[in-house]
């Protein structure tokens, strides 16, 4: 059973999460500025934060607690790190693709529909949730396992 440094692997996870979050945030920001979400700006941002906030607050919370306690580094089972890392990576990739795929999904949903039948882009985001919500649950469990193994 291979063991790795907790602080080094936590750092890698935090970098992964913050870099992907920044990238998705930037795309959403550009889309908001170009008027992509029209009158649904608030709902679009709300959707994004509902996926980012839980994990980011968990990680920031652990970092703050560590700084407060200034506890020494420990070694943990590499499996839990790898699990958290790859599940996070997959989840973040899907989240990163959301602002690209959802408008296309919205377009294909409304193809050939009259104005009365069309669905708003928020509906398309909700359809995308079908993939993301279960994965978010798995990611949170994986992250929880990693941080609890300290």
């Amino acid at each position: 059973m291979k063991r790795i440094s907790f602080q080094a692997s936590r750092k890698k996870l935090i970098i992964l999460w913050f870099s992907f979050s920044a990238a998705v945030f930037l795309i959403f920001l550009i889309q908001t500025m170009t008027g992509r979400y029209a009158t649904n700006n608030g709902e679009a941002w709300e959707w994004l934060f509902s996926f980012l906030t839980p994990s980011l607050t968990l990680m920031i919370g652990v970092v703050i607690a560590d700084v407060m306690q200034s506890s020494p580094d420990v070694e943990i089972d590499a499996f839990f790190y790898k699990l958290a890392f790859f599940v996070s990576l997959f989840f973040l990739l899907l989240l990163f693709l959301a602002p690209i795929l959802v408008p296309l999904l919205h377009r294909s949903q409304n193809k050939n529909l009259s104005i009365n039948e069309q669905k708003s882009i928020i509906e398309a985001f909700k359809s995308y949730n079908n993939f993301l919500l279960p994965l978010q649950g798995i990611t949170m469990v994986a992250l929880g396992l990693f941080f609890s193994k300290k």
Partner: protein, 524 residues
């Protein structure tokens, strides 16, 4: 070496001589053919034949491809003139041509037209050579005019040639009940005659405008229209019957069955008609007279009693009382109307049209010119008169028509999916703007509410309407009337968003009507 030099010099000399000869040939041919055409009536047939055959041989000798490219306009003009002369000769030498001979006439004139179009599509560099032979674009224009004139003469013969076949097909329907619209089309196509089937093709503008170099005679057009009306009745085609009363009215008005010798005014014809090609003869007096029209109307009334577009009685929206006989449900245009983006009233509107029928006919022709054929619907108006609304159409933000997607109110993006489209979809909302024009003809200006029209209001209004003017309104007198034009301009920020009425007043009624060629409605 000396031998080689000699060969080279000889080749150069030969090339230069050929070049000079070819230029001279074209110039000579143009001058001679122009003169022959100008003095055609005074020259003898044998002389013209000699000139034409000599010049044809001469022109065929021109082989220098660079010269042909350089002087393509002049070269094609020469050939067009040559075939025009030949066509004129054929016309002069045959008094009673049969079908085969007429087809030959057509072939020769078509060849002349072919070279004429080639001449107009090339732009020669003009210089001293053209000044010397006095060739300019005016010559090409004059040639076009001459071709057009001869086509008109030929069209008369072509129409007369197929008239017996049209009569036969009409009698065949009357005696055997068989309608052969395809045969009408076959005979018309033989001579490339522009015969339309407006009643059965309806919106299919491509079909209506397809082909046809030669004008169709009024008589043939009327036989075709009579058979089209019967075709709709016989096939019980409810979709095509939406405007059958309008078509019938147009047909009768054009046929003018109460006059034995003259046809009536042309109603809303999108193509020119040969009025004098075939006079109103005994055939029309016996086979397409008032009685025949009355019988046809009766059959239309039995098959398609005048019905609104939506035949329901749910009592929602704008439906009104039940009126037996003419229209089962009365659909009214709301009074007061939902608040529009802009409104303008034209008092004393077209007082020369003293009945609603005439006013409607005028409005219909204007709408047709604006591209709304079969894209408008009718309503009663409670204060007297009637109302018309156009269907929702897609526009640009400046009010101009989005021709590519005019009637497509689905997603904003195109059907194709290229990289640019993908980029646009990711970063920009699919904004759509669309418009509905409402015309209310009433004794006084139509009133409006202070509540903005909603998209649902309009779709409901369009749903509960009549495809043509209700019959009981047609003969009502209405000399003093006001036309109220209301524009409903909606913005939809993205697919799935609720469309909002544009009340910014950035575009006036005049701006909107100018963009759809309906500006003349305000000119009263």
């Amino acid at each position: 070496m000396r031998m080689l030099m000699f060969t080279f010099c000889f080749a150069l000399f030969f090339h230069l001589t050929t070049l000079a000869n070819d230029s001279l040939r074209i110039a000579q041919a143009f001058i001679n053919l122009s003169l022959t055409n100008n003095y055609f009536d005074t020259l003898s047939t044998s002389r013209i034949i000699k000139i034409a055959s000599f010049l044809e041989k001469d022109l065929s000798k021109i082989t220098d491809s660079s010269l042909l490219r350089e002087k393509a306009g002049l070269y094609n003009t020469c050939y067009s003139l040559l075939y025009l002369t030949k066509a004129k000769l054929l016309y002069r030498t045959k008094i009673n041509p049969n079908r085969e001979e007429l087809l030959k006439w057509k072939k020769v004139l078509d060849t002349a037209s072919y070279y004429y179009y080639k001449a107009t599509s090339t732009d020669d560099e003009h210089g001293t050579f053209y000044e010397f032979i006095n060739f300019s674009s005016k010559d090409i224009n004059h040639l076009g005019y001459e071709l057009w004139q001869l086509k008109d003469v030929f069209a008369k013969h072509f129409n007369q040639n197929i008239y017996p076949d049209f009569k036969r097909l009409l009698l065949r329907y009357k005696n055997e009940g068989e309608i052969h619209l395809d045969s009408l089309n076959y005979y018309a196509k033989l001579f490339d005659i522009r015969l339309r089937f407006p009643f059965i093709t309806q919106n299919d503008i491509a079909t209506q405008l397809a082909g046809g170099e030669y004008t169709v005679a009024r008589a043939l057009d009327l036989i075709s229209k009579y058979l089209q009306l019967n075709y709709i009745v016989e096939t019980n085609d409810t979709l095509r019957a939406r405007r059958i009363y309008e078509y019938y009215e147009a047909f009768v008005s054009e046929l003018n069955p109460d006059n034995d010798t003259a046809f009536g005014q042309v109603v809303d014809s999108g193509i020119p008609l040969g009025n004098d090609y075939i006079p109103k003869d005994a055939f029309f007096r016996t086979e397409l007279n008032r009685q025949v029209c009355t019988d046809l109307l009766q059959r239309i009334r039995i098959k398609f009693p005048h019905q609104p577009i939506l035949d329901d009685t749910d009592g929602q929206g704008f439906s009104g009382e039940v009126l037996p006989g003419i229209a089962q449900i009365k659909y009214y245009f709301p009074d007061p109307a939902p608040f529009p983006s802009c409104i303008k009233a034209v008092p004393h509107f077209r007082s020369e049209f003293h009945t609603i029928r005439l006013t409607n006919r005028y409005l219909r022709s204007v709408l047709r010119r604006g591209g709304y054929e079969d894209r408008y619907q009718y309503y009663y108006y409670k204060r007297g008169g009637f109302a018309i609304t156009t269907q929702l159409e897609r526009i640009f933000s400046n009010g101009k028509i989005n021709y590519n997607k005019r009637w497509d109110l689905t997603v904003a993006e195109g059907r194709e999916f290229n990289l640019y489209d993908i980029f646009k979809t990711i970063f920009f909302a699919g904004k759509v703007e669309f418009r509905m024009v409402a015309l209310v003809v009433s004794p006084s200006q139509a009133a409006t509410t202070s509540i903005n029209a909603t998209y649902l209001n309009l779709t409901e209004l369009i749903r509960k309407s009549y495809p043509s003017l209700p019959l009981d309104l047609e003969d009502l007198e209405m000399v003093e009337k006001t036309l109220t034009v209301m524009i409903y301009h909606f913005n939809q920020n993205d697919a799935g968003e609720v469309p909002q009425l544009d009340v910014t007043k950035r575009l006036s009624v005049s701006d909107h009507l100018s963009s759809i060629s309906l500006r003349e409605l305000l000119n009263d």
